[in-house]
Amino acid sequence: MDYDLLIVLIPTLPLAGFLVTAAIGRRLGKRAHWIPVGAVIASWAIAMVVVVAAVTGAEPFGEHGHGVALWNWIPAGSFSVQAGFFVDNLAAVLLIVVTTIGMLVHVYSIGYMAHDPGYWRFFAYLNLFMFSMLLLVLGDSWLVVFVAWELVGLCSYLLIGFWYRRTSAALASKKAFIVNRVGDVGFALGIIAIFINTGTLDIRESIGLLVEGAASLPIPIWIVALLVLAGAVGKSAQFPLHVWLPDAMEGPTPVSALIHAATMVNAGVYLVARANLIFASAPEVMAIVAVIGIFTAILAASIAMTQVDIKRVLAYSTLSQLGYMFAALGVGAWTAAIFHLMTHGFFKGLLFLGSGSVIHAVHEEQDMRRMGGLRKKIPQTYWTMLIGAIAISGIPPLAGFFSKDEILGEAFKLGFTWVWAIGIFVAILTAFYMFRLIGLTFWGESRVDPAVEPKIHESPAVMTIPLWLLAIPSVVLGVVLTWPGPPLGPVMGESGVGALTRWLEPVFAEGLELLGHAESEFALFGIDGALLAASIAVAVGGMVAAWRLFGVEIGPFRGRHRPEAVRALTARVPFLYRASANKWWFDDLYHLLFMVVGGRIAAAAWWFDRNVVDGIVNGIGALTRRTGSGLARVQTGRVQNYALGIAIGLIVMAGSYFVIAGR
């Protein structure tokens, strides 16, 4: 089987879908979705074939993957960029997430966007995004990755601002792009630094050269690592560049699910994992990664507690989960990070699509204070979202539990106790705000606008089916990927560890050596057991706390929403409450710094341009003319004055001749 062709097809199909739809979509009207959706499904199928081949190490992939060279993109002398794709197990794992969720979101959108005038445009953009994201995953040259990096940014811009008539959407999209650009600058410089250091832009080759020559590089490797990290931080919305993601919720919900939960925001994590060797050879930067990650995690979680917009809660939860992943990357638990990336991709995608279904049901209402009691009205959405919530809260045996616990466990075992401690605390918050969300949305009595109340209805199958399809992995994925023994073991090949670990082993082995991380044996009745218990405990704790305040209606558990208690609680910690509600004032701070002050500076520069730079130019002109008119005064029109002038000239002339002759 010609894998090269297949690999090339994976991204090109969506691209073709985009081009065709962009060209003729307008005329297709309501049928516009067929081509894009078809393209994505096809590319999913192919991707799966490739993935299986890759993870089973079939030829030509083998241990370390297989590359496809296309054309020499930039043949600038020594600086030559080979456009090409590369699939190894890491890429394969990402392929699973991207194509699967992408496909489901496409299907879901058929229903969700059904009544939107920009129907065709939406699908075109989605396809373009799929292409860019797949390019990002598959690119084998830093510059190709950078291209994809910017393209996904573009798509994000286009999709956030999809409803361009809404100024808020336009502003949000612009904010997203520019904030991302901040990170991209770092990334670009990092790429250049890599080129200066190694003279190549091929990812594997350059990393190899960097690591072996780490001691003697023109540009120290930690700088390279930092610059690359900047890109990752921007794309994955980590502190301090986290401000764009919540606003990005202005986009249609499928977009939030696909781009801002499941795929694009993971690019940062993917990038760091790709460059794990670079980071491994710059331990201090690793520490920074960990700090950034865990800080973002707690920051976002704290904000999520008080948000009332259902999508913003999810957005902040995404931030905080990404924070987990970065923390994992920081401590060197790369496999765990990728693991969480996968599971989170699925259940967060599920949650977002669910919230979309809710919003759809209550007619574009996003404020949870005007929801409640929807459990009966939209049961399928309710159940799927409940699954998602449990998954993210880390209740075994759902997916979230495994991945999150692995991160925390690894952190603890690798000696990053502080990361673990904070992580545990964040876990409480996570469970809390998730069930706050569930409670406010589905349980208790309805607070929905009476006018809308009667019209509430469950979403069509085209939307609910994807929900269920996402719910399944949210439940089982954790087990599947970590289960060592039968029945899964044989399928995935025998060995003590879970499938994912084994897949990623070739990718991360070298890095782990560099870090000196030994693969510790799993001890259920030892340290791991304790950690397990701890995570479960905090998850349950958070859940219960939420139930006490916001009510619960699962089988035996019954409780009702107690606003007064909530008010009492917030009254107890007024500062924390306001801080959380105002997102710790980051937006205001940035607005002051960059918009107000920056605007002033720009205005000053312009003033300088008009009055100083141009002023000098015009000044010279004016001066010349004034001198001219001054000299013109000599021309009095009276002969005698002229004659006197001549006489004086004569005297001076004769005098100067005397002087000259005298010498």
Binding site: R633, R638, V639, Q640
Partner: protein, 105 residues
Amino acid sequence: MGLADSLDFYLVVAGALFAIGTFGFLARRNAISMLMSIELMLNAVNLSIVAFGAFIPSLQGDGAVIALMVIAVAAAEATVGLAIVIAIYRNAKTPLVDEYDHMRR
């Protein structure tokens, strides 16, 4: 030796006359006075030329000839000048040159 035999004397006198003419030209307002001043200057020059002719060996005779030429030239100038004066007097109705200042700057 006496004054009559010193070239310098004649030249200084010529210079003085020339200066007088210059003064007149600069100071008088009447067109014709200015004309006369110029004549004075030309005569000053003539004086010096003739003096040279008398004292510089190689200019023996030449001086006189040159002087004659200069006289002729002066005559020509005077003719033209007076003609112009008359012409402008017809237009401006005044012989005072410093009132012909319609063109300036």
